[in-house]
């Protein structure tokens, strides 16, 4: 009886830990990636100067992160949450570093 209870507790704990890591850590990584991408894209596509784009991207990242935190705890499907965070994370960080390489002629 004791053991089944413990096992039930453990199987309940794993999704919660995954969700905490996804929402808090993953949400931060994605917001930081989107900020990096925006700071790179905005000066290239609009009239916003580079230093201004940097500040704008970082300030908006707080609100993006807040949205991701709320969604991270509200999304019923843990798999979908992780999948979307991974995809947006790869696209944003990949895009930002891709643009850095493009600019340096690499």
């Amino acid at each position: 009886m004791q053991r089944t209870l413990q096992r039930a507790g453990a199987t309940k704990a794993v999704p919660i830990i995954v969700r905490l890591v996804a929402a808090i850590g993953g949400g931060y990584a994605v917001s930081a990636g989107l900020a990096a991408l925006a700071a790179r894209v905005l000066p290239a596509t609009t009239a916003i100067p580079r230093s201004e784009a940097v500040v704008l991207a970082s300030m908006l990242a707080f609100l993006v992160y807040l949205g991701l935190l709320i969604w991270g705890f509200a999304e019923p499907s843990l798999a979908r949450l992780c999948l979307i965070l991974v995809i947006v994370g790869i696209v944003s960080w990949g895009g930002a570093f891709g643009l850095v390489r493009l600019a340096s002629g690499g």
């Binding site: 999704p15 919660i16 969700r19 917001s31 930081a32 990636g33 900020a35 990096a36 925006a38 700071a39 790179r40 000066p43 916003i48 100067p49 580079r50 230093s51 201004e52 784009a53 940097v54 500040v55 704008l56 991207a57 970082s58 300030m59 990242a61 707080f62 609100l63 992160y65 807040l66 935190l69 709320i70 705890f73 509200a74 019923p76 930002a96 570093f97 643009l99 850095v100």
Partner: protein, 511 residues
Amino acid sequence: MEQGFRASMNWLHTWAGVVLGGLLFAIFWMGTLSVFDREIDRWMAPMIRLPAAEKTFSLEVLRPMYEAAAAAKSPTFSVGLPTERDAAIRVLWRDQSGPVYRVVDPRTGTILPDPGTLAGTRFIFPFHYMLHIRFQDIGYWLVGLAGMAMMALCVSGVIIHRRIFADFFTFRPDRKPRRLILDLHNVTGVLGLPFHFLISLSGLVIFWATYFPSSWQVTYDGNRPAFFADAYGNVIPKRTGEPGGLASFDAMAAEARRLWDGSALRYVFVRNPGDAKSVMQIGRLDEGIVSSTYDAAYFDGPTGALISHRTGTPPVMSTQRFLSGLHFIQFHHWSLRWIYFGLGLAGCVLIATGYLFWLESRRKKHAQLGLKGVRIVEGLAIGSVTGMLIATAAFFVVNRLLPLGASALGQDRPALEVWTFYLVWLASFVHAWVRPQRAWMEQCWTLAALASAAVLLNWITTGDHLLRALSHRHLWPIAGMDILLLTGAAIATVAALRLSRLSRVAQVRHA
């Protein structure tokens, strides 16, 4: 994890509140005190209880300290100029032994005795934004996490709230304690919501470059100084090693004032003192606007010639400066200052009642099931709430008890005050876990005693009792501090009396 949007937000609100409530309370409490950091400085350092400076005084009084900084090859020489709230000049440089801090009376140019305390601006205020944990910037990141959590708590709190409009007007002090606690939590939460959300957001935005460095890292190849030079036009000279003098302080200050139509000045900052390539930066004080501006003028040190100056910032940076100014409240507005203080206290009540509601709604069930949750969280709540208040009061009391220049166990006076704060805080947690039944009441009594003692000790050690403080304009900050301490003592006494009556009723019922 529970199902459904509202249920999941309830889960988030409960857990984020229970786990981070203690940290949030500490940050909110220290932030609330920081609203009056300069006034706390005056209370804790009697030598700076000066009447306001005359309109003009010569900055040449700084010259001997500047020469000392130049001789010690200090990388910088920084001077905070007097404001309405702070009549003293504060000077900071480094020598071989570490930072040197001096307080100067602008009327006479004399260096005042070492305050021997970190007081409000150097202990309470930095605690608010970095918890005095410097290692790897962990303090900043913990505060950032708490700030994000506060915003998430605001959002989830609104979502789980079923009757947000009705609760604007609902406070039922005659109901059962649990209902009363929830009403108080809701009323402070709903009325304070815009403030609590914006104060958290603006606090995070101040440190945007620390919390979201990715944006400048990918655009400036990880070169932070390059970004700041681009964004602010900072003039950062390289040290040559050749000696160089410094032109007249007053001439450069007059030129800076002329650039900004006679505006007052906030600081004077010299890079490479004593070097042939020293640069003096003078900052503008604008107490008439919310925004905390970056306006500064740069002068070549040896010749005193203007290198460059900036007035105003582009739109995005201006938004950032506005949000920062909103948080720093360095503008001149006493009624708003008190409103910030009141709303900050409302935030503290919000966090404390959140804990109380969690405890009251689980106490019976946990007792029946033999769970330890309530006991653990109650200790956490007591130490975080009354413990933090007691530690702050003890910080004030020990400040009035230690003689100037005191040292013990190799710690100087400022360090002894800080040690007292932390040890008393730690003791309050131990007390709370050892005596959970009586800890709230006993800590309220302790708080009442310490707060009253602080007022009494201020009178004994400085002679500035309440009546005297009220009758001198420059001692009003002391009067304000004493009145708030006495008010706090009175509230703590009432709380302790009610708690002891409740515990007597409970004992009668058990018997």
